[in-house]
């Protein structure tokens, strides 16, 4: 209770200050009067009595101050005082304040914006109740092992999932889902491609998502394969495709040509767990009906992602330990394989491979914008230094009458923090608005083939915290050095007012020059890095992938529900119709499209050897190479006879030939197939009949991986896709193909686009990076130029007096100018040199990302420093010229 009384007293001290001050005066007055009375009674004269009383008492002013300090909370009052003083000082100097605030706004704003984007991508938890309990589980394999990878390699098979679910002690629920099931045809006639997910039947329950209509899955729905063709629709799909029909529950819909019954509609706003909005959910046991191949029974296939909700009180360590035991047990079935598990709190874009990529890129980008912020800080620090030198006299006087240095530094720091908060708040607000706008723009302009993205970049606690921390840090970084510098001084010269003109003693010149050098160096690093990136990306834009794309249209489709014979018939008829379209001169087929983001792998062994080799491959028609302009350098392509008889022949790429049979003729050599699961040699032996030139068909920028082409056997024929070369316009051809497919089967979903679109897709990330680095580089340049200009011209104007003296002593205008220029440009040159050295280091790091540009590209390394030197030169030239033209008498009297 005592502390309550004390708190109350302190509060009173804060709010009743005036009254207490007057009372204290009365109290001391009383004391003095009593003492004087006593002295008089002892026989002193009134004058002596008063004098003696005062002496006995001490210094009343000082004592009153001491006493007042015991009231209230001193530190609070001092802070308030500092803030008021700082605000007043800032408002008296509007031009300085505006420039400083803007510089900080730019720096902090860019940082906050980037961080909020990264937060939305990689740090935000799932948008479900109590999301911090949910963890994602991925498996990482080591050693030699066979595995079927349908999705990402770190996913699980159905039997593995059931194993983990039954045997763990740490989860209140473990769900599985197969993400990104795209282009599923909804509807029988003129189907619309929709995105869905196959999930375990406890999916909605574990996530805590309740349906808006009807029900979600129950365990009975997953008891066996294919027994329960039910589906839950997303709110969005229900509204757009079914007109928000209130009686949708119980109705039948057609998905992938199979009948499904709608049992419920998910809550509004629930669009699944990934960045791509999901439109329907089906039980995992319906997988075969939706995808056409049976993955449920494959024990060694990676296709399901796992999420678990931890029991309350369970730690991540316990989860890792518990699941590790289960993983070890499963490993015993596969000798030669060890599995480690990666378990993290589930975030919105959560697959561990994505996470590493995003964190890596994110770190680099944050470093870059951090550098921009550094430049902004250097700018403001310089401004502060310049301004502090104007207040030198005031500070010197305060210090000399005994003011505490710490107090003054604290006050100057408060001003800096005020600028930092104003600028930071302004910058962050602008950042949030513009990031939202930019995200919307980007999403609306994604190239074809990109699925629509869900991207929540709205600021949350992480972002606010980051922004606040940045503001405080920034304020201290640019405020501390000038504050310390301004209060460390040669008092006598400062008080006398000799602030400028004497060589070697110009106030703070060394510090300012150092700041300029830092700015220039950092700006150089950023600009050169940006320049290198942009140049290399430019060359990536113009790189030739090694195959023709002009005038070629690709048609991608699937044939659900077709048996082998029906599939062959369909393909034959489609090819015939396509050939009959106006302008078409060539029609070929391929299983996957070049640069189409679908890759097929298999394992083969060169005949007679022991080693196994992993290959990427494609299944194509004989004329494929000719149509795409990929020259056969040795041998020949497949013959029609070989295609029809399903002969075991191959065409391999040049680098594959070089790799497998160096210095030998690859024609006539053979490769034997290997059974993927059992790792035994298969029966078929394929002979190499031709060697084709390398091309970048699987990854842009990479063309020398092991790759072969094989002809389409009767079973593969049904899965082939179409490539059509036409002299007519692309639009005509596209429409013609669509129509042809529709005539043959109106219930198919077919994706018909230009082949060159694939390349565009690959280039999009590069384009974004190029745009980003361009913007950052421009920002850095702007800030650095402003900084250099400000400091250099200020420096020259400070030395006006010195110039006057020199001119009086006989120097002419030219000499003076050269002197001024040399002094001004020196820090810039030093900064540029440091920057170049730093950049050489940085470009080593970047060289992994650069296409075909040496990491010491001369244009970037020379052009940027020249530009900055030019800016510095201009900034110093004008004031120097002006100073050299002055009448010396005027400059001497200048103060």
């Amino acid at each position: 209770m005592l502390w309550v009384r004390r708190f109350w007293l302190k509060l009173q001290g804060l709010f009743r200050r005036n009254r207490n001050v007057n009372r204290l005066d009365d109290e001391i007055q009383f004391h003095l009067e009593q003492q004087i009375a006593e002295n008089c009674a002892a026989g002193m004269s009134p004058h002596e009595a008063r004098y003696a009383a005062r002496r006995a008492f001490g210094n009343p002013t000082y004592l009153k101050e001491e006493t007042r300090d015991t009231w209230g909370w001193v530190w609070l009052e001092q802070i308030v005082q500092d803030l008021r003083y700082g605000a007043r000082a800032l408002s008296k100097n509007p031009s300085f304040t505006v420039v400083a605030v803007l510089a900080v706004a730019l720096g902090v704003g860019v940082n906050t914006g980037i961080f909020s984007v990264l937060n939305g991508v990689a740090l935000k938890l799932l948008p479900v109740p109590r999301a911090n309990q949910i963890v994602s589980v991925d498996q990482i394999f080591h050693g030699n092992f066979p595995r079927i990878e349908h999705g990402e390699p770190e996913m699980f098979s159905y039997s593995e999932y059931k194993n983990y679910r039954a045997n763990n002690q740490v989860f209140s629920g473990l769900l599985a889902y197969a993400p990104f099931l795209g282009d599923v045809p909804l509807g029988a006639e003129n189907p619309k491609p929709v995105m869905g997910e196959e999930t375990s039947c406890n999916f909605f329950e574990v996530l805590g998502e309740r349906p808006a209509l009807g029900r979600t899955f129950v365990e009975a729905d997953c008891r066996a394969e294919g027994v329960s063709p039910v589906v839950v629709l997303s709110d969005e799909l229900w509204r757009t495709q079914f007109g928000a029909d209130p009686r949708i529950v119980g109705k039948s819909i057609s998905l992938n040509r199979a009948k499904f019954v709608v049992i419920g509609v998910a809550g509004q706003g629930f669009r699944g767990l990934d960045a791509w909005p999901v439109e329907f959910w089906a039980p995992v046991t319906m997988e075969k009906a939706l995808e056409g191949e049976d993955l449920l029974s494959k024990d060694n296939a990676s296709w399901l992602g796992l999420l678990g909700r931890m029991r309350p009180g369970v730690s991540l360590e316990e989860v890792r330990a518990d699941l590790g035991v289960i993983a070890g047990r499963i490993d015993q079935l596969y000798p030669g394989r060890t599995t480690t598990l990666a378990i993290h709190r589930a975030t919105f874009m959560g697959r561990s491979e994505e996470r590493t990529v995003v964190f890596g890129i994110g770190a680099v980008i944050l470093a870059a914008v951090g550098l921009v912020l550094l430049i902004a800080c250097a700018n403001v620090a310089n401004l502060l230094l310049a301004r502090a030198s104007a207040r030198q006299k005031e500070i010197a006087i305060r210090l000399s009458i005994g003011g505490s240095r710490w107090r003054i530094v604290r006050q100057l720091l408060t001003e800096s923090l005020l600028i930092a908060f104003l600028g930071g708040a302004l910058g962050s607000l602008i950042a949030f608005w513009s990031v939202d706008g930019i995200a919307r723009y980007l999403l609306a302009h994604l190239p074809h083939g990109f699925p629509p993205l869900l991207w929540d970049v709205s600021p949350d606690l992480h972002v606010w915290g980051y922004s606040l921390a940045l503001m405080v840090l920034t304020g201290i970084v640019f405020g501390l050095a000038p504050a310390l510098h301004a209060t460390r001084q040669d008092l006598s010269t400062a008080v006398k007012g000799e602030t400028a003109g004497l060589p070697g003693k110009a106030r703070g010149r060394r510090l300012r020059s150092a700041l300029v050098a830092v700015q220039v160096a950092v700006c150089m690093v950023l600009l050169i890095a940006a320049g290198l990136l942009m140049r290399s990306l430019y060359s990536a834009q113009t790189v030739d992938p090694g195959f023709e794309m002009k005038g070629i249209i690709q048609a991608r489709y699937e044939l659900p529900g077709y048996n082998v014979a029906a599939g062959q018939t369909f393909q034959r008829e489609l090819v015939a119709r396509a050939q009959a379209l106006p302008g078409v001169d060539e029609v070929e087929q391929a299983r996957v499209m070049p640069l189409g983001n679908q890759n097929m792998h298999t394992v083969m062994t060169p005949q007679g050897e022991k080693r196994y080799k992993s290959f990427e491959f494609n299944i194509v028609s004989p004329g494929f190479f000719g149509m795409l302009g990929m020259p056969i350098v040795r041998g020949r392509t497949f013959t029609q006879a070989e295609v029809q008889s399903d002969a075991p022949v191959l065409v391999i790429t040049e680098s594959t030939a070089r790799r497998l049979w160096p210095d030998q003729d690859a024609i006539g050599k053979s490769l034997r197939e290997v059974n993927a699961l059992s790792q035994d040699l298969g029966p078929r032996v394929y002979q190499v009949v031709g060697v084709v030139k390398d091309a970048q068909v699987s990854h842009l920028g990479q063309s020398d991986g092991p790759f072969f082409y094989m002809p389409a056997g009767p079973e593969e024929l049904a899965a082939m896709q179409l490539l059509v070369h036409s002299k007519a316009s692309d639009v005509t051809t596209i429409n013609g193909i669509r129509e042809a497919v529709r005539i043959l089967d109106a219930g198919l979903v077919v994706d018909v686009t230009e082949l060159s679109g694939n390349l565009e897709l690959w280039r999009t990330p590069s384009r974004i990076v190029a745009a980003l680095s361009g913007v950052l580089g421009a920002l850095a340049l702007l800030l650095a130029s402003i900084g250099v200009h400000g400091v250099v011209s200020y420096g020259v104007s400070q030395r006006t007096r010195e110039i006057g003296i020199r001119m009086t002593l006989g120097a002419n205008g030219g000499d003076v100018m050269i002197l001024a220029l040399r002094q001004a440009l020196r820090p810039v040159v030093i900064g540029a040199s440091v920057g170049i050295i730093a950049c050489a280091a940085v470009s080593q790091v970047l060289s992994t990302v650069l296409y075909g540009i040496g990491s010491h590209d001369p244009i970037a390394f020379i052009g940027v420093p020249l530009f900055l030197l030019g800016v510095a030169f201009l900034s110093s030239y004008l004031p120097a010229r002006r100073a050299s033209r002055f009448d010396p008498m005027v400059t001497l009297r200048y103060e």
Partner: protein
């Protein structure tokens, strides 16, 4: 005229509390009493009482009241907490004094 430094501060505060233990006094009376008790040995600026008094008041060990005695004066007296503090320290003081006598 020395100002009591921090080390001595605690003892000085104790002294103030002791002088108030009998009856409420105003600042000047306390100063006079201290002069008496210490037999003029403790040389303290009279004014340095006031920060100490106000500090004690903020700590709620003493309380103050303005009374009319011909003129308005601020009288200080001990609070219950102050009295408790005094007793606690007095005990320790007694122990110390005993030790000193016997050693």
């Amino acid at each position: 005229m020395a100002k009591p430094n921090d080390l001595v501060q605690g003892t000085f505060d104790l002294l103030l509390l002791k002088t108030l233990s009998l009856e409420p006094k105003h600042g000047w009376a306390i100063a006079k009493r201290i002069q008496q008790i210490s037999r003029e040995v403790l040389q303290v600026q009279q004014g340095s009482l006031y920060p100490a008094l106000h500090r004690l008041e903020q700590k709620a060990l003493i309380k103050a009241k303005w009374k009319e005695t011909g003129r308005q004066a601020k009288f200080y007296s001990l609070t219950a907490a102050g009295r408790a503090e005094l007793e606690k320290e007095a005990e320790i003081g007694v122990v110390c004094r005993r030790r000193i006598i016997w050693s």
